[in-house]
Symmetry: C2
Subunit: 224 residues, 2 copies
């Protein structure tokens, strides 16, 4: 057993608003990142922010970001500029007695750092395997592996999970005492549930196909 | 009937990668924004990007962003600096015959601009009503309305939807012809379905309560 490194070692990754919702364990950061399939990658382009949804994977205390070599956000991020990667999972809507205390239940992770392009083919293949297995578990072994040309056309960046924060809101509303005492309004949470549906075979498949186990087994299971 | 203003009037909101996935109708932008409850607000702080999940609402061709007056991203965004707001809905995982053509089905909207703080109490109340009704339809009329003090503690920013882009991927994988012809692998889409669950009443409610219709009716309905 190793002692987990606490998060929030820097000023900008220290949560000030809603401190009671800040989570400082590294395991919580990993859990949020592992739960979601899409992150939001922020870079600065010509002095303005650019935020784009991006696929990712995780390898211990590093995350991999993935995209086409032509994608602007990844191209910018690969130049050694600061990036911010945010992963958010929405868990429900919090119906309070007052409009003011309405809220959302969510899990959010924010990672600050500098992304590093992965160019070594072996390391890139390792990163792509983790990315693929994060998005589509089982596909790395099932599908045709990337050719050298495809590998070259794929951009993979690595980002250390050193500077990060996690914020989680869960549970019932936090109404004002007098609203609770008044007893005039219902309050509670409407949870949001996400799950994988029924596989939709590609219309170009010829003949009869069984859905492969890695896809069939995911159907019906919860997401995030 | 008015002719909708096309999107992408600027260089940075013109999609270059995956052009065939770019959608240029304003109605598509509205539809993506209306589907999701959380946006990712990007601002530049000390030269580095900061991306935080934020609640929002829409009023025609403006969106409202919402948070505590203490939230750093909103405080920065309120100073007239450029912002980028991105809304992403994940619709499924695309299992291709090759790892390279694996993908995700999604709807994403990216808005660039300068956010303007709303300070006029009447306008702020209007914005908060739209924000509340976006997140919790029916709550504005049901719950206790904000007091002047609560209104003052809430920060609302407006952002014009002038400079925006929409990108949507849907449908089956786009495998290489030779992978399709080889006929060796299954391919298809595993859709992701999100829906509102069963209301969870606040444990501090005293006595017997019916779940109010605006909450009860949402339960079981799809999200996004």
């Amino acid at each position: 057993m190793t002692t987990p490194t606490p998060l929030s070692p820097t000023d900008r990754s220290t949560i000030r608003r809603g401190k009671h919702r800040a989570v400082t364990e590294r395991a919580a950061l990993h859990a949020v990142l592992d739960a979601a399939l899409v992150c939001h990658l922020g870079v600065v382009v010509d002095g303005a922010p650019l935020v784009l949804p991006t696929g990712f994977g995780r390898d211990g205390d590093r995350m991999f970001l993935h995209g086409s070599t032509g994608a602007r956000s990844l191209r910018e991020a690969a130049t050694g500029v600061p990036v911010c990667v945010t992963v958010t999972v929405l868990d429900g809507v919090v119906y309070a007695r007052s409009v003011f205390d309405h809220s959302m239940n969510y899990r959010a992770a924010v990672v600050h750092g500098t992304a590093v392009p992965i160019t070594d083919p072996e390391e890139k293949t390792h990163a792509l395997r983790l990315l693929t297995e994060h998005i589509a578990p089982g596909s790395w072994d099932y599908a045709r592996r990337p050719t050298a040309k495809e590998l070259a056309a794929t951009s993979v960046l690595a980002l250390d999970l050193t500077e990060a924060s996690v914020k989680i809101r869960s549970g019932p509303p936090g109404d004002e005492d007098e609203d609770v005492r008044a007893g005039e309004k219902w309050a509670g949470v409407l949870p949001l549930h996400s799950a994988w549906g029924k596989p939709e075979p590609d219309p170009t498949l010829v003949g009869e196909w069984d859905v492969p186990p890695h896809v069939a087994q995911r159907a019906g299971t919860p997401y995030a």
